[in-house]
C-alpha cells in the first residue's frame, strides 16, 4: 500500500492569542495536486509554512516522506532538531512565495544555482546546465542573465519556481503564487504550474484561482478559522458544496 507523502496529524499553531491552526489532520498522496482555498486568516498559508518549517508547530506532528519534521522522539519526549537537520529536511520541499522573494543582487541564473551549489555543494558546471534547462522549461531561457528588477512579476515568479525546482524537491508548496501579479500576468505562471502538475509533481497550492483549482487540482480543501471545513474532488467542493460556510465563501468569491 502506498503511504502519504505528507501526513499531518492534529497540528495546532497559535500566534499569541490568535489560533491559526486548530488540530488539523490531512494526508497528501504522492503525485497529488491539492488546492487549499479559504478566506485570509483561515490558516491555509500557515499550514504550508509549517510543512517547510518557516513556522514551528505548537502541537501535533507532520511527517514528510515518513520522517517526523522538526523534532525527534526520545524517551517519551520531543526534542527540537538542530538548525542543520531542519535545513536538510527543508530540501525535500520547494517553496514559492506570494512576493517571489528572488535574491535581487543575483541574476535569474544565479538565483537558481545558489541553492544547489551553496547548500548541496554541487559543482557549478553541472548545476548551470540544469538551471538553464529549468529556465527553458519555464520559458525564460533568454533571461538567464537578467536581474530580478529587470523582469516582470510573472517572469520573476517563474524564475522563483525554477529556483525551487533546482533543489529537486519531492513536494512543491505554492503560497498564493499569483496574488501579487497584475491580472494579465497570472496566466503565464499558472501555465507553468499546470505543466508541473502534469509531470507528476506533488503540489500543495494555496490559491484564490478557482479556475485553476477546478482544472488542475485532484483535491480541493476549504479551510476556515484554522480548520478544514470541507474537502473532496474539485468538481464536488466547488460545484456542489455541502457545508454552509463553503457555500458562503464560494458565492462571495465568484
Amino acid at each position: 500500500m502506498t503511504k502519504p507523502l505528507v501526513a499531518i496529524r492534529s497540528v495546532s499553531k497559535s500566534f499569541g492569542e490568535f489560533q491559526a491552526l486548530k488540530a488539523v489532520s490531512l494526508d497528501v498522496w504522492p503525485g497529488e495536486v491539492m488546492c487549499l482555498i479559504g478566506a485570509s486568516g483561515s490558516g491555509k498559508t500557515t499550514l504550508l509554512r509549517c510543512i517547510n518549517q518557516l513556522a514551528m508547530i505548537d502541537s501535533g506532528g507532520i511527517w514528510l516522506d515518513g520522517e517526523l519534521l522538526g523534532v525527534r522522539e526520545q524517551g517519551g519526549k520531543l526534542h527540537r532538531l538542530s538548525e542543520r537537520e531542519i535545513g536538510r529536511q527543508r530540501l525535500k520541499t520547494g517553496m514559492v512565495f506570494q512576493r517571489f522573494n528572488l535574491f535581487p543582487h543575483k541574476t535569474a541564473l544565479e538565483n537558481i544555482t545558489e541553492g544547489p551549489t551553496q547548500v548541496q555543494g554541487r559543482k557549478l558546471d553541472e548545476v548551470r546546465s540544469e538551471a538553464l534547462e529549468l529556465l527553458r522549461r519555464v520559458g525564460l531561457a533568454a533571461k538567464a542573465d537578467s536581474y530580478p528588477a529587470q523582469l516582470s512579476g510573472g517572469q520573476q515568479q517563474r524564475v522563483a519556481i525554477a529556483r525551487a525546482l533546482a533543489m529537486k524537491p519531492m513536494l512543491m508548496l505554492f503560497d498564493e503564487p499569483t496574488s501579487a501579479l497584475d491580472p494579465e500576468l497570472v496566466g503565464e505562471v499558472l501555465a507553468v504550474m499546470k505543466e508541473l502538475a502534469k509531470s507528476g509533481m506533488t503540489m500543495m497550492v494555496v490559491t484564490h484561482e478557482l479556475g485553476f483549482a477546478r482544472e488542475v487540482a485532484d483535491r480541493v480543501v476549504y479551510m476556515d478559522q484554522g480548520a478544514i471545513v470541507e474537502q473532496g474532488r474539485a468538481s464536488d467542493v466547488l460545484g456542489t458544496p455541502r457545508e454552509e460556510r463553503t457555500k458562503a465563501f464560494l458565492s462571495a468569491v465568484i
Binding site: N52, L54, E83, R84, G87, R88, R90, L91, T93, G94, M95, F97, R99, N101, L102, F103, P104, H105, K106, T107, E114, G115, Q118, V119, Q120, Y147, P148, A149, Q150, A160, R163, A164, M167
Partner: protein, 285 residues
C-alpha cells in the same frame, strides 16, 4: 473605427509653446554676496600674521608626508578592525541566543558610552593595570613593550569604531526584507549562510553611505592618537611647531592634507556604492 465624441470649445491649443526661463534674481544676489564675504575672509587671512611661505615649504616636508602615511595606515587598519567587529557584533545582536545578545549590547554600551580619547589613554597605559600580559604558561611579556603607541591606537580606534559600526550593520541587516531570509531558508540555508550569501550583500548597499561617513570620521579621529605619541599627521605637525613656533602655519598644513584625503575618499565611496547597487537599478533593457 468608433468615432470619438466632439471635444468642448474654449481650450486653446498649447502644443509647441515653451516654458519660459525665470530670471532667478535672488540666486544671483545671494551668490554675489557670498563671493564678497569669501573674498573678505581670504583677504583677512592673506594680511594676517601668517607666513604663507612656511605653509608651502612644510606642506611636502618628509615628516609631514610620513605623518599622512601613518594617518592613512591607522585609519584603514582601525576601520577594518571596526567593520569586522561591527559585523560580528551586529550578527550577535540579531541572534536568538540571549547570551550573545547581551554580550553584544554590553560591548556597544561600554565603548559608545566613554570618550574615545579616554579609551586611547587607557589602552596606552594598560601597563599600569597589568605589568605583564600573556597566556599563563605559554607566553608572557611586559605590557610596556607590547602596548606600543601603534597597537594602543589601533585597539582604541578599532574597538571604538566597532561599537558604532555594529549599529550601522544592524540597521543594514534589518533593512533587508524578511522574505529574503525565508527564501534562503526555503532552499535549505542555515542562518549564518543566509546572512553571508543573501542578507549581507544586500545590506551593504544601505550601509556604504554611513560607513563612508564613519571612515571620514576615522581619518580625523586618528589625530586623537597624537596624545599617545602615535606619529600621525597632527602629532608630527605639532612636533615641528614645538621647534619653530610656526603654530598656525603647520596647523594649516595639516588641515590642507586632511581636506585633500577626504576629497579623494568621496568619489571612491561612489564607486563602491555603484558596485553594490547591482541588480537594484533598472538598467537599460
Amino acid at each position: 473605427m468608433r468615432p470619438a465624441p466632439a471635444l468642448a470649445e474654449g481650450f486653446p491649443d498649447l502644443s509647441g509653446m515653451r516654458i519660459a526661463r525665470e530670471p532667478h534674481w535672488f540666486r544671483w544676489i545671494s551668490a554675489a554676496l557670498i563671493v564678497v564675504v569669501l573674498a573678505a575672509i581670504v583677504r583677512a587671512f592673506a594680511n594676517g600674521q601668517i607666513e604663507w611661505s612656511y605653509v608651502s615649504r612644510f606642506l611636502t616636508v618628509k615628516v609631514i608626508l610620513e605623518g599622512i602615511v601613518n594617518t592613512m595606515v591607522m585609519a584603514v587598519l582601525a576601520m577594518m578592525l571596526g567593520i569586522v567587529l561591527g559585523i560580528v557584533v551586529a550578527i550577535m545582536r540579531l541572534s536568538p541566543n540571549p547570551v550573545l545578545k547581551t554580550v553584544a549590547a554590553g560591548y556597544t554600551w561600554l565603548f559608545r558610552g566613554t570618550p574615545l580619547i579616554l579609551q586611547l589613554l587607557l589602552w596606552f597605559n594598560l601597563a599600569l593595570v597589568f605589568p605583564t600580559i600573556g597566556i599563563p604558561g605559554l607566553w608572557s611579556a611586559r605590557a610596556v613593550d607590547v602596548m606600543t603607541p601603534f597597537l594602543a591606537a589601533l585597539l582604541g580606534l578599532g574597538i571604538n569604531q566597532g561599537a558604532y559600526t555594529s549599529e550601522v550593520m544592524r540597521a543594514g541587516m534589518l533593512s533587508v526584507d524578511i522574505g529574503q531570509y525565508e527564501a534562503a531558508q526555503a532552499i535549505g540555508m542555515g542562518r549564518l549562510r543566509a546572512l553571508r550569501r543573501i542578507v549581507l550583500p544586500q545590506a551593504m548597499r544601505v550601509v556604504i553611505p554611513p560607513l563612508g561617513n564613519e571612515f571620514i570620521g576615522m581619518v580625523k579621529a586618528t589625530s586623537l592618537a597624537s596624545v599617545i605619541q602615535y606619529p600621525e599627521l597632527l602629532h608630527n605637525a605639532e612636533n615641528i611647531y614645538y621647534a619653530n613656533s610656526r603654530v598656525i602655519e603647520l596647523l594649516i598644513v595639516a588641515g590642507l592634507w586632511y581636506l585633500l584625503v577626504v576629497s579623494i575618499l568621496t568619489p571612491l565611496q561612489m564607486l563602491l556604492e555603484r558596485r553594490f547597487a547591482r541588480g537594484t537599478l533598472r538598467l537599460a533593457r
